[in-house]
């Protein structure tokens, strides 16, 4: 109770000092909704916890509108949000929308068109809020007319992390050179990445160290492995959008014009399975969280790590053993992939993130719209970016606090700013979870070796087409 009132008092002070010019707007706008309690549900992640513990009390202090944010697991969050919106119960006024589910929500008209609503009700428009403040990541939450359906709250790219202390160690460099004839440097090709991974796994074994050459997010029963392959591995071989071609009747198989079982997809799978085999033993049970933990524990020399984890691995000494030793690079690529990414016809990895959206079933839409604008302002971003590394507004990059943080993170924010355009979110499929779940059992069989990668990908392509036909997308 004491902590709560302390936070509220701090928030009130921050409000009056940080936004004196606009304090009147929030209190005036909020006066109409005094007594309203907004409810939101989101994944329990550092950016969401910041909303719950800092932004919600600040908003309450400014407007008098109480905000209760429920932070829960990824699965539970979707379960609760979808059930609420599907049944129309109106329990939630804000829901977390991960980038990959926005298309499903839009296809069901689950979300309020924020752009349109603010245009229709200009009295609700905060002077400090502007859609144009967001980075291009916000485009994922817009419809064909450019209308925004969610306020971006976190954005990350999945990067290639490597251990600078190992890569820059002269003895290790010499040993690597002696073994491969090459200089030890972050890999730019799959062949180099494999050679480095093999070298460090062998090196760890020889020296009796708990060290392996790479991480692998290769859980044999969790969607995390499916995502690693389709979002982070296959694109680096030139297989985009899961190998499904929406312009060609949602074809997945090569026979019908898709690429899910193409030679490139099969090469990508074999490459990744080999990496999995020389990764730490826990990899077969690793999701995105465990992969990050493996790297943070100093058990892998390199790996592909989600940005939200990359930040704490690089900077949080309480949780990571490799603070100050983390280097960031772009993922290794096959020929032609970088050119395709720069030309806008391909991408080199996953641009991850999410937004807070307003369900049409909410009973407090106007008050919720105020809160969404509040968390979308430039003014609240720098502290948020420092507390829970994520950037959604362009101006945040230049804030002195964030520039200092970038140095601590080894240039992660700079890479996000400069190279973010080369990465892409999930393809705009309303059937995202459905096709994933239909094909995942076969994918897990490939991982366990019950079925070979070639026939496995053939079966997955056939299964994807069957599911798309059942769902009515493929004619």
């Amino acid at each position: 109770m004491y902590l709560k009132s302390k936070i509220t008092a701090i928030a009130a002070v921050l409000m009056t000092t940080a936004f004196p010019a606009f304090a009147d707007f929030w209190s005036d706008a909020g006066a109409k909704y005094k007594g309203v309690v907004l409810h939101g549900v989101t994944e329990s992640s550092p950016p969401s916890v910041y909303i719950k513990e800092v932004l919600a009390p600040q908003f309450e202090a400014a407007t008098g509108i109480k905000v209760e944010i429920e932070t829960t697991s990824w699965d539970q969050m979707y379960d609760k949000a979808i059930k609420d919106m599907e049944a129309g119960t109106g329990l939630y006024d804000m829901v977390y929308i991960e980038q990959d589910i926005i298309y499903a929500y839009l296809s069901r008209n689950f979300l309020v068109d924020m752009t349109q609503t603010l245009a229709d009700k200009p009295e609700l428009k905060a002077p400090t809020y502007d859609d144009a403040n967001f980075t291009t990541f916000a485009n994922y939450f817009k419809n064909a007319d450019g209308h925004l359906f969610g306020v971006p709250m976190e954005a990350f790219i999945k990067l290639y992390l490597y251990r600078k202390d190992l890569f820059e160690n002269p003895d290790i460099q010499a040993a690597y050179k002696a073994k491969t004839g090459k200089d030890l440097a972050p890999a730019t090709t799959h062949e180099d990445y494999t050679a480095i991974a093999e070298f460090f796994t062998e090196y760890g074994k020889e020296k009796g160290m708990e060290l392996w050459g790479t991480t692998a997010q290769a859980h044999t029963g969790h969607a995390a492995s499916w995502y690693e392959y389709y979002e982070s591995i296959a694109p680096t071989f030139g297989v985009y959008n899961w190998g499904i071609d929406p312009a060609n009747n949602y074809a997945a198989s090569v026979a019908n014009g898709g690429r899910m079982n193409s030679d490139e997809a099969k090469a990508a799978m074999k490459y990744w399975l080999h990496l999995r085999d020389i990764a730490p033993p826990e990899s077969a049970q690793s999701t995105w969280t465990e992969t990050a933990t493996t790297f943070a524990a100093g058990r892998a020399a390199q790996g592909l790590i989600y940005g939200e984890n990359a930040a704490w691995i690089a900077s949080d000494a309480e949780k990571s053993k490799v603070v100050g030793q983390v280097g960031f690079a772009l993922p290794p690529l096959a020929d032609g992939v970088m050119a395709a990414a720069e030309g806008g016809t391909g991408y080199i990895g996953y641009y991850d993130g999410g937004a807070f959206g307003l369900p049409v079933t909410s009973k407090n839409q106007e008050a919720a719209l105020l809160f969404l604008q509040f968390i979308g302002q430039n003014e609240v971003q720098p502290d948020w970016a420092v507390a829970a590394p994520r950037i959604t507004n362009s101006a945040t990059y230049d804030d002195p606090k964030v520039v200092a943080m970038d140095a601590t993170l080894g240039g992660y924010y700079t890479m996000l700013k400069d190279q973010g355009k080369l990465f892409a979110g999930a393809p705009p499929y309303p059937f995202h979870a459905q096709v994933r779940e239909a094909t995942a059992p076969i994918f897990y069989q490939i991982l366990t070796g019950a079925i070979g990668p070639d026939e496995g990908l053939d079966a997955m392509a056939a299964k994807a087409e069957e599911e798309l036909t059942n769902l009515g997308y493929r004619q």
């Binding site: 699965d75 979707y78 379960d79 979808i82 599907e86 499903a104 296809s107 069901r108 708990e210 290769a218 859980h219 044999t220 029963g221 969790h222 969607a223 730490p280 033993p281 826990e282 990899s283 077969a284 049970q285 690793s286 465990e290 058990r299 309303p430 059937f431 979870a433 459905q434 994933r436 779940e437 239909a438 059992p441 897990y444 069989q445 991982l447 366990t448 019950a450 059942n470 769902l471 009515g472 997308y473």
Partner: protein, 293 residues
């Protein structure tokens, strides 16, 4: 007449709750089972499709595999729990130093939420951080990796279930044993019956109803297990531990195939009832008496 009305009035709240939260949802599930309904399909509306969902599951290899694995899991887990639970109950019938402490410790798993049990066992079984792989490697040189070995994953789900639920069986059987009259046992001892004969001919027949009730409860639980296994293995490796409860969850929630998922639920309910009925008939139901000529 008056007492009838009072009886119904007193029952009314219970019936209302049961009807609202038990019967109506069940009727709705039956209704949905006869429809094609995926809210994220090209056509998100509910469309009547007769018995097609039920026909589909007869040919659904994933569902049939899940059923087979679930039955195997239920037989191993429940069977082990009943045997182990009986021996522990017998142990608790005796006096020994630290009995009260042992009984408390032994009962503790019952109060732990299944999701927590799954999380803890996952931590204990993860290679390189878990104590189980660590000691297996240290003492036996065995590299346990549940993520890659289907047999180990299956075994661990069974062991986890035994750890969690054996105390329930122990307590139930202990109650049954404590309630047994002493006379038949004393009579048998006087007549010179040995321990095995006493067990087969007196103890077992007398506690059979309690065993059967326990088996029913545990069997129904085992057939619908979801959260513990989801946390421990996620259903993997591959589909090795994708038991039918977890299979239904995946079909209904992430895949949002509500119609088909409802059909599977109904069939699983039917299978559970049939299994319980077979058990009842085999073990308890009164048999027709042979006519004495």
């Amino acid at each position: 007449m008056r007492s009838n009305r009072t009886g119904w009035l007193m029952l009314a709240p219970t019936l209302a709750i049961l009807g609202t939260f038990g019967i109506l949802p069940f009727i709705y599930v039956v209704y949905v089972a006869f429809h094609r309904w995926n809210p994220f399909g090209a056509s998100p509306d509910m469309v009547y499709n007769g018995a097609k969902n039920f026909r589909r599951l007869v040919f659904d290899a994933e569902f049939l595999t899940a059923i087979a694995y679930t039955l195997k899991f239920a037989v191993f887990a429940v069977g082990s729990e009943v045997i182990l639970g009986y021996f522990l109950a017998q142990l608790l019938m005796k006096n020994f130093p630290g009995k009260a402490f042992f009984r408390t410790i032994h009962t503790l798993p019952l109060i732990v939420a299944p999701i927590v049990v799954g999380s803890v066992w996952r931590l204990m079984t993860t290679p390189s951080i878990g104590i189980i792989p660590h000691y297996l490697n240290e003492f036996f040189g065995y590299d346990m990796n549940m993520g890659r070995d289907a047999g180990t994953a299956f075994l661990m789900t069974v062991i986890m279930d035994i750890w969690h639920w054996t105390p329930l069986v122990t307590l139930t059987l202990l109650a049954a044993l404590l309630a047994l009259p002493r006379d038949p046992f004393e009579q048998a001892e006087i007549d010179g019956a040995n321990r095995r004969q006493i067990f087969w001919h007196i103890t077992l027949p007398m506690i059979k109803p309690a065993i059967l009730a326990t088996v029913f409860i545990r069997l129904m639980d085992a057939l619908r297990t979801v959260d513990e296994v989801w946390m421990l293995t996620g259903g993997g490796p591959g589909d090795a531990t994708r038991y039918v409860g977890l299979h239904i969850w995946k079909v209904v929630f992430p895949k949002t195939d509500y119609g088909y998922g409802s059909a599977i639920s109904i069939i699983v309910l039917y299978l559970t009832l049939v299994m319980c009925w077979i058990l009842y008939v085999a073990l308890v139901a009164p048999r027709p008496k042979k006519e004495v000529l």
